[in-house]
């Protein structure tokens, strides 16, 4: 868990004291290119799955900022996502506010709600914290399922809101095909990965990790636990709300059961844990591996064996927690650094022999 080990896979010995520009970044670059080009020419269904991969990668990354780095287990993130989705949608339906603006209003609101919820929650530790976050999410879900309107705006209770289609219109965040949604989500994912990377390398990130490793020791060193937990909560809530706004626009339908439900929270947490919590790329790796498997399984076995894909989710979760405590991320990174060592090691060796010969 120490910071040194987490550095990108530049594991090969540095001979010149200087790394090649691509070293340690090569595979990142390959993946970026892959992600940027892969949906083109695919069927609509494949594109749908790819959007979901990015969506869940984004959600799990948002969850990761709070839960992975600080080391608490929140199962109430669906509620935060729901607040974002509902705010954006209500603003759009009742006031015609563009989702681009509504998204940020929702995100700020959710951030504030997150901080308010954080005050009682963060007084608790371990299982108590988790249970309180579940209680808050369930409270909101039950409320929305049975409420016809909020502040005079119709929410239609459990039957949910259908988001009106405003045409293929960039200004209203409404597109006909899946491709624009894909690139939007990709951009959002890149942003959150950059922010996670920034946090990972900043003082804030060190505070977070210190709290995760040993809260008492961190506090005795003068780290204000509540303050940093609330900061983590705000960032996490802010981004998960943006995911909620995206969800509403992408599916054009939201209801309390689906978006506020415990299943959504568990799914997000699961992806992050399987991928690797507290790692920059962990949640993304988790989503890339889990989402296509589960979507394809539910497509092919949905009729004959309902629930197979969720069964696989559960089994993978148990196995990962038991046998890969650091998540799949660790293995993927090791594989990359091995491959890079192979690649750059050879080039360097060639250079070295050239130098010793001359």
């Amino acid at each position: 868990m120490n910071k040194q080990d987490e550095k990108l896979p530049g594991a090969a010995p540095v001979v010149d004291g200087k790394k090649g520009f691509l070293e340690g970044k090569l595979f990142l670059l390959i993946f970026a290119v892959l992600f940027a080009t892969v949906p083109l020419g695919m069927s609509s269904f494949t594109q749908h799955i790819l959007v979901l991969v990015l969506f869940y990668a984004f959600c799990a990354s948002a969850w990761n900022i709070l839960c992975g780095y600080i080391g608490v287990l929140s199962l109430g993130h669906s509620a935060l996502m729901g607040i974002g989705a509902y705010t954006t949608t209500l603003l759009l339906v009742h006031f015609g506010v563009s989702p681009w603006i509504g998204m940020f209003i929702g995100a700020f609101l959710t951030g504030i709600v997150g901080v308010l919820i954080g005050f009682p929650c963060f007084r608790m530790s371990g299982p108590y914290f988790t249970l309180t976050t579940i209680a808050f999410a369930e409270l909101l879900r039950v409320y929305l399922e049975n409420t016809k309107e909020i502040f005079g705006m119709s929410t239609k209770g459990a039957s949910g809101i259908t988001v009106p289609y405003t045409g293929d219109n960039v200004a209203m965040l409404s597109f006909l095909g899946k491709i624009p949604f894909y690139y939007l989500m990709l951009a959002l994912l890149v942003i959150i990965l950059l922010i996670t990377w920034g946090i990972d390398r900043s003082k804030l990130g060190y505070y977070f990790v210190a709290i995760r490793s040993d809260a008492d020791a961190a506090e005795s060193l003068g780290i204000k636990l509540l303050k940093y937990k609330l900061i983590g909560m705000f960032i996490s809530a802010f981004f998960i709300a943006i995911a909620g706004a995206f969800y509403a626009q992408f599916f054009r339908y939201i209801n309390p059961t689906r978006i506020f439900g415990l299943d959504m929270s568990i799914r997000i947490a699961l992806i992050a844990v399987v991928g690797g919590q507290g790692k920059i790329f962990g949640p993304t790796i988790g989503a890339v591996i889990l989402i296509p498997i589960t979507e394809l399984l539910s497509l092919y076995f949905g009729a004959t064996l309902p629930g197979l894909h969720l069964f696989i989710y559960g089994v993978v979760m148990v196995l990962v927690v038991l046998f890969m405590p650091k998540g799949i991320n660790d293995y993927v990174m090791r594989l990359f650094s091995w491959l890079e060592g192979l690649l750059f090691g050879r080039i360097r060796k060639a250079k070295e022999t050239a130098r010793t010969n001359s």
Binding site: M124, L131, I134, F136, F311, G314, V318
Partner: protein
């Protein structure tokens, strides 16, 4: 007003059933400090076992307890031994992931729930037994309920007493309590720590199986039923105090009464929300619950 007063015994009866479900969770946490998120699915699994016994062999769930409770005991024993134990051992070495056991039980919950979904499908299955058919009335006919619900309340009390007896009056119970209080010291005194954990886990799941038999009489078996009871039993157990046996029962009764009386005075929704609010307030004010020890 009369309706409201009548709702109180209804709530107590319902609460007894809730409490019985919560007992298992409380016992497991009290000893191993593990929150078993798979609680709901384990209840569901035992309900389906009773259902299969009833449909295929005509065995009433009350009699089925003789077979199902030991099976579930072994099931719980195995879960602790093979899934939880390695994690506890690992966490003793480093405190990096205090949440990993919780994560594991969440995954296990998913796996179990959807395994049953694949086998039995998502439909609701009910059984008609003798006890669920008998209607019990007070003399003036004001208050009616079924025999099965009353049996559920009594079973909750008996179960609580049986667990209390095992933990406080037997040598096994003394060992388990010793482990719960101080794992290292108990281990030094020659108590097999992980065997005690496994037995406690098994007992908790077996208690769940007993309450499942009572529940199936007036409810249904369905793969998702665990989620509802899971969340509710967490709240009950926290309200009563995690690890406290009487706390689980009393917490259950409080919940039952809040729900039924609340449904009379305000709406059912508001009552459910009220129970969540109550839970959050108790957590914030007194995280150890009403009857929990520090």
């Amino acid at each position: 007003m009369e309706n409201t007063l009548l709702a109180i015994p209804q709530g107590i009866i319902l609460g007894g059933a809730y409490g019985a479900i919560a007992l298992g969770l409380s016992v497991i946490f009290g000893v191993t400090r593990v929150i078993n998120f798979a609680q709901g699915s384990m209840l569901m699994a035992s309900c389906f076992l009773y259902y299969v016994l009833y449909e295929n062999y005509g065995i009433d769930p009350y009699i089925g307890i003789i077979a199902v409770a030991p099976i579930m005991f072994l099931f719980g024993y195995a879960v602790q031994k093979f899934l939880v134990k390695p994690l506890i051992i690992r966490e003793r070495a480093s405190v990096i992931e205090p949440t990993s056991v919780m994560m594991m039980t969440i995954g296990f919950d998913f796996a179990l729930m959807y395994l049953f979904m694949m086998i039995f499908g998502a439909s609701y299955r009910t059984i008609k037994t003798t006890a669920s058919g008998i209607v019990v009335k007070t003399a003036d006919g004001m208050f009616t309920t079924t025999l099965s619900r009353i049996i559920a309340l009594i079973a909750g009390l008996v179960l609580a007493f049986a667990l209390w007896f095992i933990f406080n009056k037997t040598e096994l119970g003394t060992k388990i309590r010793a482990v719960a209080q101080n794992r290292t010291a108990a281990g030094l005194c020659g108590v097999d720590v992980f065997k005690s954990y496994s037995i406690a886990f098994g007992l908790g799941v077996a208690a769940l199986a007993v309450s499942g038999a009572c529940l199936l009489q007036f409810l249904y078996a369905q793969p998702n039923m665990g989620t509802m009871f899971g969340v509710k039993s967490f709240m009950i157990v926290v309200l009563g105090g995690l690890g406290s046996i009487p706390g689980a029962l009393i917490g259950g009764v409080i919940f039952g009464v809040v729900e039924t009386v609340g449904a009379q005075l305000i709406t059912g929704t508001a009552a459910t929300m009220l129970s969540f609010v109550l839970f959050i307030i108790v957590l914030v004010v007194k995280p150890t619950g009403l009857f929990g020890k520090k």
